[in-house]
């Protein structure tokens, strides 16, 4: 055995030792197996990654969002300046903010595709109805997070988009006025507005998002991904068998024999 082969087998032994040690003490390996291995239908397996894509983009939002907080200042007199600093002074500031911005956009697209996949495959049907409900809650949370995040820029774009968004909300029946006064923190846009949008964007809704993601994944694991319960090859085989029988029966009919079905024929065969 050459040098490289020896090193490789030693490394394998060492890692086995470490994983065994961890497994005995924490059960981590079985846990990982449980979390990571999931039967997925053979056909169209790629389309089942849309949910993971959504989860990945949300994780990216959390990571880049936390990084942005190292410089972002949520006050009307400094918010714009702090983003200017992120964009022009901080190393990779354009990258971090750019990821947060673009990932927010792609996130909504990914959620849309993910929902479309579940809808068209019928994945929302029993027993998975509740996971659809939880998914809709997640969608609404993400939409509101994206809306409140845009205000944080506190530039002309973000400001007027926020005004427009709030005015749309203000036309809701009965609670429209109260809702936007809650968001504005009074009866005008001002310092309170930015603070509230900040609190909602960075703390309230991300904190609310996390448990619902947990429930979503738990329910997913409980019932498995839709379609995994039947192997497609098996269904296909059954279909072919049925078609073969039907063809056989039609053949008998044309032959002048009465079409009495399989059981009848078996009975007759026995009596002869």
């Amino acid at each position: 055995m050459g040098m490289i082969g020896r090193v490789r087998s030693q490394a394998v032994d060492a890692s086995k030792l470490v994983t065994d040690w961890m497994e005995h003490r924490t059960g981590i390996v079985t846990m990982m197996e449980h979390f990571l291995f999931e039967p997925v239908p053979k056909r169209g397996a790629w389309i089942y990654t849309l949910g993971s894509l959504t989860l990945g983009l949300i994780s990216l939002q959390f990571l880049t969002g936390i990084l942005l907080l190292f410089y972002y200042v949520p006050t009307t007199d400094h918010a714009w300046n702090s983003i200017y600093y992120i964009m022009n002074e901080a190393y990779f500031g354009t990258l971090i903010r750019g990821i947060h911005y673009w990932s927010a956009n792609f996130l909504l697209a990914a959620i849309g595709l993910h929902m479309a996949q579940v809808f068209f495959s019928g994945g929302y049907k029993a027993p998975r109805e509740l996971n659809w409900v939880v998914g809709v809650i997640l969608l609404l949370l993400v939409v509101v997070i994206a809306f409140t995040g845009y205000a944080l820029r506190w530039d002309q774009d973000g400001f007027w988009a926020t005004v427009v968004g709030m005015k749309i909300g203000s036309y809701s029946p009965f609670v429209g006025g109260q809702t936007i006064r809650f968001l504005m923190g009074g009866d005008t846009i001002g310092p309170a507005t930015l603070s509230r949008f900040f609190a909602i964007h960075v703390w309230l809704l991300p904190a609310a998002l996390a448990p619902f993601i947990g429930i979503h994944l738990y329910l997913l694991r409980r019932h498995g991904v839709f379609g995994s319960e039947f192997e497609y090859t098996e269904r296909l085989a059954k279909l072919h068998e049925r078609q073969r029988l039907e063809r056989f029966e039609r053949y008998e009919e044309e032959d002048g024999e009465p079409n009495t079905g399989r059981r009848d024929r078996a009975d007759r065969d026995g009596s002869e």
Binding site: M166, K167, S170, R181, G185, G186
Partner: protein
């Protein structure tokens, strides 16, 4: 569980439930309680100076910026008025106010006669009758589009001017009247007055015609 237990738990649960929910909910909703239940406003109920009527041209609106002081978080009234406090931005909210003389619109959209009184610009203080005449001849309009609130601006094309909203293309004429696009009505007018010194003053509220929902517009 006995009846007594049940009632005891109910009463205790209600008390503790109230103790843990009322403070945070009232904390977060305090601006709503103050504005909706107590009728307070973030902007003092005063008159704020807009500008002199002599600066308003004929056949074209004039834009003034009014800085309304706002009581919110770090711009509370005591802090704004305290000369020793550090001044911060965000103590005022600048609102753009469009002012124009009421103008006749001829057929085909051309501008007709302007109701600009002849004595405007002569200097000297105005008499009561003059004030009345000026007040009746002015449009004091919010720049906030009646659709969804974006700031409109005056755009002149081939000699004809219109207010254009940048957000969804709402159009208004020189009197603020609806001309096109998604807005459901014309521009909102401020509650205003003209004083002897020839200046316009506004309150931070709109003069909403009777019959309209008083609560609109929600975002000033």
């Amino acid at each position: 569980m006995t009846r007594g237990d049940f009632l005891g738990f109910g009463v205790l649960g209600a008390i503790f439930g109230a103790i843990v929910t009322i403070p945070p909910v009232a904390f977060v909703l305090s601006p709503v309680i103050k504005t909706d239940a107590l009728g307070q406003s973030d902007v003092p109920d005063d008159w704020f100076e807009v500008g002199p009527i002599s600066e308003i041209p004929e056949g074209e609106p004039k834009n003034f910026v009014v800085e309304f002081p706002v009581n919110q978080i770090y711009s509370e009234e005591e802090i704004i008025n305290n000369p020793e406090a550090v001044k911060t931005e965000g103590e005022v909210i600048p609102n753009a106010v469009w002012v124009s003389w009421k103008t006749e619109i001829l057929e085909g959209g051309k501008l007709g006669k302007t109701q600009r009184p002849a004595f405007v610009g002569e200097g000297g203080s105005l008499s009561q009758e003059q004030i009345q005449e000026v007040t009746a001849s002015l449009n004091v309009m919010s720049s906030s589009c009646a659709h969804l609130g974006c700031p409109v601006r005056w755009l002149v094309r081939e000699g004809e001017g219109l207010f254009l909203c940048p957000c969804h293309g709402g159009l208004y004429g020189i009197n603020g009247e609806y001309q096109g696009g998604p807005p459901p009505r014309g521009l909102y007018n401020y509650t205003f007055e003209v004083r002897e010194n020839g200046m316009i003053y506004v309150k931070h509220e709109f003069d909403i015609e009777p019959g309209l929902n008083k609560q609109q517009p929600y975002v000033v």
